[in-house]
Amino acid sequence: MRLTKSRKNTKNLMLYILATLVLLVMIAPYLYMLLQSLAPWHEVDRVFVPTSLSFRSYQWLFAGGAATLPRPWLRALGNSALVASVVTFSRVIFGAFVGYALAVLSFHGRRIVHNFILFHMFYPGIILLVPTFLLIRAMGLYNTYLAMILPGLVSTWAIFMYANFFRSVPKEVVEAARIDGAGELRIIFRIMIPIARPVTTIVFLFLFMERWIELLWDMIVVRDPAKQTLNVLLTTMFGPYGGYPGPLYAAGVLLTFPIVLVFLIFSRKFVQGVSLVIST
């Protein structure tokens, strides 16, 4: 018995070592980016771990070099945060509204709306790329924040996540609230959204991540550097900053670490709710 126990312990120890090594590989690109952004310039990419710390890349990023104008990096970070927040917030709220209508209310045409959303969800979005751009242009929204925000205000995926969850809420809960004289909005905000907190966390995290790293659409509709998201600005700087890898790494850190931080803050809730997304 003693023997098998110590063998089991050895096995577990090996497993932890393996898991930790794999974890290091998985986060290695993040570490590399962070280390290189803090490296003295002659060491960038030349060594894996810099021999001394230097903030020159960050200074250069915001002040610009002798021959290069500073780019609005912080503004771009703000733009990313603005667009991702507004879009995600709206997708969560409207997802709950429409999900509630589909799951709880009975009205004529509910099945039609439901099936239409399914059709919408599975229709290949790539076909809509060019015409949606033309529409945005025709509406006079080219080069505006609204161009990045408006087309994404409602998410079919979020609607179905909420609808599926709301269907599992006992009818009596809603009926009791109605008898107390609560209106639909009050029921949604006071009862349904609080009950659906695990759904909200998951929907929020996935949609926020997705919006934060969007490239193609944002690149097409906004060319003005003052309105570009950080992801787009970084893309456009690949060529011009090619000779300055250090500042590019600093910009990469600016883009990557906020989203990692948001995720880590919510990671406990993420773990609790993730099974909602991945039911096979």
């Binding site: 577990n12 497993l15 932890y16 898991a19 794999v22 974890l23 998985m26 986060i27 690109p29 993040y30 590399y32 980016m33 290189q36 990419d45 030349r46 060594v47 894996f48 509204f97 429409v98 209508a101 009205f107 045409g109 509910r110 959303i117 229709y123 290949p124 790539i126 076909i127 809509l128 060019v130 015409p131 949606t132 751009f133 033309l134 529409l135 087309p151 205000l153 409602v154 079919t156 609607i159 639909e184 991540m209 790293i213 490239l215 193609l216 097409i220 970084l234 893309t235 690949f238 890898p245 590019l248 990469g252 883009l255 990557t256 989203i259 880590l264 993420f270 993730v274 039911s279 096979t280």
Partner: protein
């Protein structure tokens, strides 16, 4: 009262209905007519070309590259992502404690912007990098990575596998946790070793998870854009050219709206047909093996 009930439903659904009309139905209708015209986004006159855009696209070598490369990426990405994510899931599943710490850690690559990671990959693979210096010191030479077609395809595939594995591992993990322990206990009593148990119990019962991961990964290969756009521009010699690069190039760099929309339709068709065929193959394989 009854009317009010009807109204409430439609009112709450209206945010969706409004955006669906504006940003789904109108573009959908527009795309149907767009593919029939040659239009440069600016000129007041559009030239009606009938099916000319389709004829041109079907003869285009650029489209052919995009078409073929998608299956090359698929051949590299799908098996690798299945094996890696299953491996990650097995590690997490067998850890006695801290399961979720490692699951969250493995998931972190999913948060990475393709742009930021392209930056790291370009730096690590640049000629003077510490990594290449190490390779030259150890093996005498280093590949020219992004300048060689086969390597460029592999590098981009590896980036995508890295990004998705931790996410797909969660799907496998859910599957693993659904397998009843008693099955393993019964098999152990019958004298089955760890490998036999894995082959006869774990793999067959994970079939639904395999199916989900496979379909997700296959579908994803038709939408590759960021990594080749930033890293290789589709090169060298179109080795990493993809559908979305071609759509972007035609519609937004050469301003050929009709032709770009046409390529997008072909992209969607190729995706639909390929996914359908692969689904059928995997399903009939599963039925033959008795997994479903």
């Amino acid at each position: 009262m009854k009317l009010q009930k009807e109204l409430r439903g439609w009112l709450l659904a209206s945010p969706y209905l409004l955006t669906a009309v504006l940003f789904f139905l109108i573009p959908l209708g527009w795309s149907l007519s767009l593919v029939l015209f040659d239009w440069n986004l600016i000129a007041p006159v559009r030239i009606y070309v009938g099916l000319g855009n389709f004829q041109e696209a079907l003869r285009s070598t650029r489209v052919l590259h995009a078409f073929v490369n998608t299956y090359k990426f698929m051949a590299a990405i799908v098996p690798a992502v299945v094996v890696v994510s299953l491996g990650l899931a097995l590690i997490v599943h067998h850890l006695p404690r801290l399961k979720w710490f490692y699951a969250v850690g493995f998931f972190l690559p999913y948060l990475a912007s393709g742009v930021a990671i392209s930056l790291v990959v370009r730096g690590v693979l640049s000629y003077d990098s510490a990594f290449n210096a190490f390779l030259r010191a150890t093996f005498g030479s280093a590949p020219r990575w992004l300048r060689e077609p086969a390597w460029a395809t592999l590098v981009i595939s590896a980036m995508i596998v890295w990004k998705l594995s931790g996410y797909y591992a969660l799907i496998f993990l859910a599957g693993l946790q659904n397998i009843p322990r008693e099955l393993y206990e019964a098999a152990a009593l019958d004298g089955a070793g760890a490998l036999t148990q894995f082959g006869k119990i774990t793999l067959p019962l994970l079939y639904p998870a395999f199916y989900t991961v496979l379909i997700l990964a296959v579908g994803l290969c038709f939408g590759i854009f960021t990594e080749p756009y930033v890293l290789t521009g589709g090169g060298p010699r179109f080795a990493t050219y993809t559908w979305q690069l071609e759509i972007y190039y035609q519609a937004f760099e050469r301003f050929r709206a009709g032709y770009g929309a046409t390529v997008a339709v072909l992209n969607a068709l190729a995706t639909f047909v390929s996914v359908l065929i692969i689904r059928r193959l995997v399903e009939s394989w599963g039925v033959r093996k008795g997994f479903r």
